[in-house]
Structure formats: C-alpha cells, structure tokens
C-alpha cells in the first residue's frame, strides 16, 4: 500500500508526495544500527573479559592494529595495493575477453546452441582445484593471480552477453518489424541495447568472482603478498593485525563493488521504468 499524506481541501481530497521516511521504515533502520552497534560492544566486552587473546581480538585493538601494524607497514601496504592492481587487471581482462567471446558465441543460433552448454558446464566446475595448476603454469607472482581472477570473472560476462543477445522480449521485435526495420536495424536498435543492459548486470557478478579468484590465489601463494601476511599473523596467533588486514581487504572489496554498482545503475536506469 503506497502511503501518502492526504488533505481535505475544500471538501475535496488531494494527495501529496509519498513521504521519504515512513515511521515503520525509520524504526527498522535505527534498530538495525543499534543491533550492529550492540554486537560490537558485546564483542569488545566479551573478548576483554573472557576471550582468548590469542584467538580473538576486541574491536578496539583491531582498530589500533589497523593503524599501528597494517597501514603503517610499507610492505603490507604494498601487498594490499598489489592485490588491488591484480583485481583491476583481471577484471579488465575478463570484460574484454568475456565481451568478445560472448558476442562471438551469441552471434549465430548454431554457435550458441553448440558452445554455450560447454561454457555452462565449465562454469559448474569448482575452479579452486585448478589453483595449484595455475601456479605451476604462471609461477607464484602476480601473473598467476591475475590469470586466476580472470578465469573466475570471465564467465558471468560471457554468460550474460550471450543471454542478453537471446532473451529480447518478442513484443519489441514485433514492434520493430512492424515499423519496417530490417534485420540489421533490429540488431542495432533492439538486440544490442538489450545485450548491453544484460552485460552491465553481469559486471557486478564478475567483480565479485574476480575478487574471489584473486583472493583465493593470494591466500594459496603464501610466500609473498597478502597471503604471506595472513599466514604470518595466523601462525603467530596475532589476531588483531589479522582482523585488521582482512577488514581492510573487505573494505576494498565493498568499495570496488559499489563502484561497479554505480556504473551499472548509471547505464541501466531505463530498466526501472520499463514495464
């Protein structure tokens, strides 16, 4: 039920804009913030009183460790930046290759019906078991991580591009034909924009998958990079900097996700208004 403010004006009823915050919704938002805050407070109190200082650190120590151990250490900072670089490179590669291959596979009915099932089958394999293979082939430097991130991130783009070329609402095609459009016009003005929308939707999932791939690779190769430091902190039972490092990477992941989401929103605004 859409809730609006109504007013009696000269006996006639007029309606105004829907209010930005409806009381019920506002309560929910604040309750949520309270719960998160409460959880942090409980965490702090519990770890200080009863927790094992070798396993879990209180949030305050984590924040301190963030500045004293993580952000101040050039080596760790470098490792984080390297990870960021790997993610962005893998992502860019995934987009280019995914788009190209997707357009190729989706272009004809035959190529789609023959090759798409192969793609989907590959998508179903848990790629993580190939990680040791990647390091055998690419070494233990950034190349392996970029390659692994790429192999994760390329699939959502590929799949979405092919699907986007396929699933155009037949009514739109009918409308275009009735206006006298030729096949090339239809591809240009109906299929392609539709595919672009699908492509942008795939961008977000691809970022998530690319992140996953790079992180897995980093964790596996524990001789350098963030994997080395996480292993170090875990083995020396130093939870505060470990939490802090993971927290930093999490914030980086969320940041990247938000950027992609903003880009997606900018280019697919029309979808909110579409029937």
């Amino acid at each position: 039920m859409s809730l609006t403010q109504t007013e009696m004006l000269d006996g006639r009823v007029i309606a105004r804009h829907p209010p930005k915050y409806f009381a019920h919704g506002v309560t929910a938002v604040w309750t949520r913030r309270l719960i998160v805050l409460g959880a942090l407070v409980l965490w702090e109190i519990w770890t200080r009183l009863a927790g094992n200082s070798e396993l879990i650190a209180p949030p305050s120590s984590i924040v301190r460790a963030l500045f004293s151990d993580i952000l101040s250490d050039a080596a760790i900072r470098g490792a984080i930046m390297l990870t960021l670089f790997e993610v962005v490179s893998a992502y860019a590669l995934a987009i280019v290759v995914g788009l190209a291959m997707g357009l190729a596979i989706g272009s004809t009915n035959l190529s789609r019906r023959s090759l798409f099932p192969v793609v989907l089958l590959l998508y179903a394999i848990p790629q993580v078991i190939l990680l040791p293979l990647f390091t055998l082939g690419f070494g233990i430097g950034p190349a392996a991580k970029i390659a692994f991130g790429f192999s994760h991130g390329v699939f959502p783009i590929l799949v979405n591009v092919v699907a986007g070329m396929r699933n155009v609402n037949p009514l739109y095609l009918k409308a275009a034909r009735s206006m006298g459009a030729r096949r090339s016009d239809i591809i240009r003005n109906v299929t392609f924009p539709h595919m672009v929308a699908s492509f942008f939707t795939g961008l977000r999932l691809s970022m998530t998958m690319t992140l996953l791939g790079v992180i897995l690779a980093e964790l596996y190769v524990s001789t350098a990079g963030v994997g080395y430091f996480t292993k170090l902190f875990a083995e020396t039972f130093d939870p505060a900097p470990l939490f802090a490092l993971i927290g930093t990477l999490a914030i980086m992941a969320i940041g990247l996700n938000e950027i992609v989401r903003a880009v997606e929103r900018r280019f697919t605004r029309w979808k909110d208004w579409a029937p």
Binding site: G25, T31, I35, I129, L136, I215, L219
Partner: protein, 251 residues
Amino acid sequence: MKETSPLPARAIQLGFLASLMAAWFIIGRTGAISPLFVPPMEAVWRAFIALVQTDQFWSAVATTLRTIGEAYGIAVTSGVLIGYLVTRSRFLTQVLEPIVSGFFAIPITLFFPLFILLFGIGPASKVAYGAAYGFFPIALNTIAGLAGVNRNYLNAARSMGLSSFGTFRHVLFPAAFPVILTGLRIGFFICFASVLGGETISSVSGVGRNIALAAELMEPARMYAWIVVVIATALALNTLVSMVENRMRLY
C-alpha cells in the same frame, strides 16, 4: 518456426571435445608445452589408475566427503532455522535481512585465515568455513521464500480458520519450498567448492590437500588425475541436480 535438429550442435560439441583431446595428445608427443604444466595424456591415465588403487586416495576422498557433509549439515540446519525465525515478524525481517545480505556481499573467502586461526589447519576449520559460507544462500532464500508468500494465500488461510501450524503446513511451507530448495542447491555447491578450496589452501588431509601436495612435489600427472576426479564428480552432481529439478513438479 521450423524445428531445428540438435544434431549440428552436438556435432560441434563432439568436435570441440575431440580437438581438445587431439591437442593434448600432440602436446604430449611433441612437448610443445612444458610437461610440468601439461603432462602427456598417457602419464595422467597411468597416474589415475595407480591413484585409485591406493588407500590414500580413498581416505582423502572420505575425509573431504565427510567435511562437506558436516559443513552442509550445519549450514542447512542453521540457515533454515534462522531463516524461519527471522520471518516470524515482518519488523524482524525488515531489520535483519539487510544485515545478512550485506554480510554476504563481502567475499567470505577473505575470512578463511580467521578460521585457520580459530580452528587450526585440520578438517574442523574447513567444516566451519564451509558451513559459514553455505549458511548465507540458504538463510537468505529461506527468508525470501517465507516472506514472499502471496498475501492472498495467507488471507484465504485465515478466512478458512487455519491455525498457525495449519497455515505453516498447508500454505507457508509449500509456497516457500521452491525458493528454499534453490537456496539449498546453491548452498550445497558453495559448501562443496569452499571445502575443496580450503583444503587446497591450507590443510593436512583431503582431496584439496592432495592436489596442492602433488603440485608442490612436482608430480603433475598425479595432480591432473586428482583434478579429473573432482571435475567428473562436479559435473555428475550438476547433471544429477538438473535432472531432479526437471522432474519435480513446477508450480
């Protein structure tokens, strides 16, 4: 629209597979790619035969299966239970669901070192990690399924005088079931992949560990044999699940 036969597509798929095998064979013969990276086909085949006869193989498989099973069990129980409890009140759903889905937006893989810290490098950490990862799609889908039941069904149930248990049994559960089932399916494959991943990255036993070990010991043929086993299992599971889903009555 004329019926297009599946034959040309199948032919191309078989051709694709055939050319892959041929390429592998040629690489093995000519050594164009380092045998460390792509061992010859016969070497992999021999390694595979040898592998499945060892006790080590079967105990590793057992360990991994048990780990996946435990992780999935925990994920399902906690996910469905919490999902159910959250949807008991509309307010609670509004408050808690964004927290859960927001948390899932962070790659849980990042937290893997924490699990190692807390649970050590034995199977326990993989059980916890797999359970934690698999919990999310199950809980979120349970919430979505139960909260998304068409109000008209609930109104009809009330007007007929159904008790709250009756409403759950005859309306809520059947209506939410397809969505919950999807969550269970996704949760399973996430448990499967995350346990394998955890074993590969840091473990003492299990399939993943063996793959990593084979790489460390520079035994690519054995590694490929293991990989083939896992891929075959994954594809078989996938096909099985698809078949079951197609068979089930869709409403």
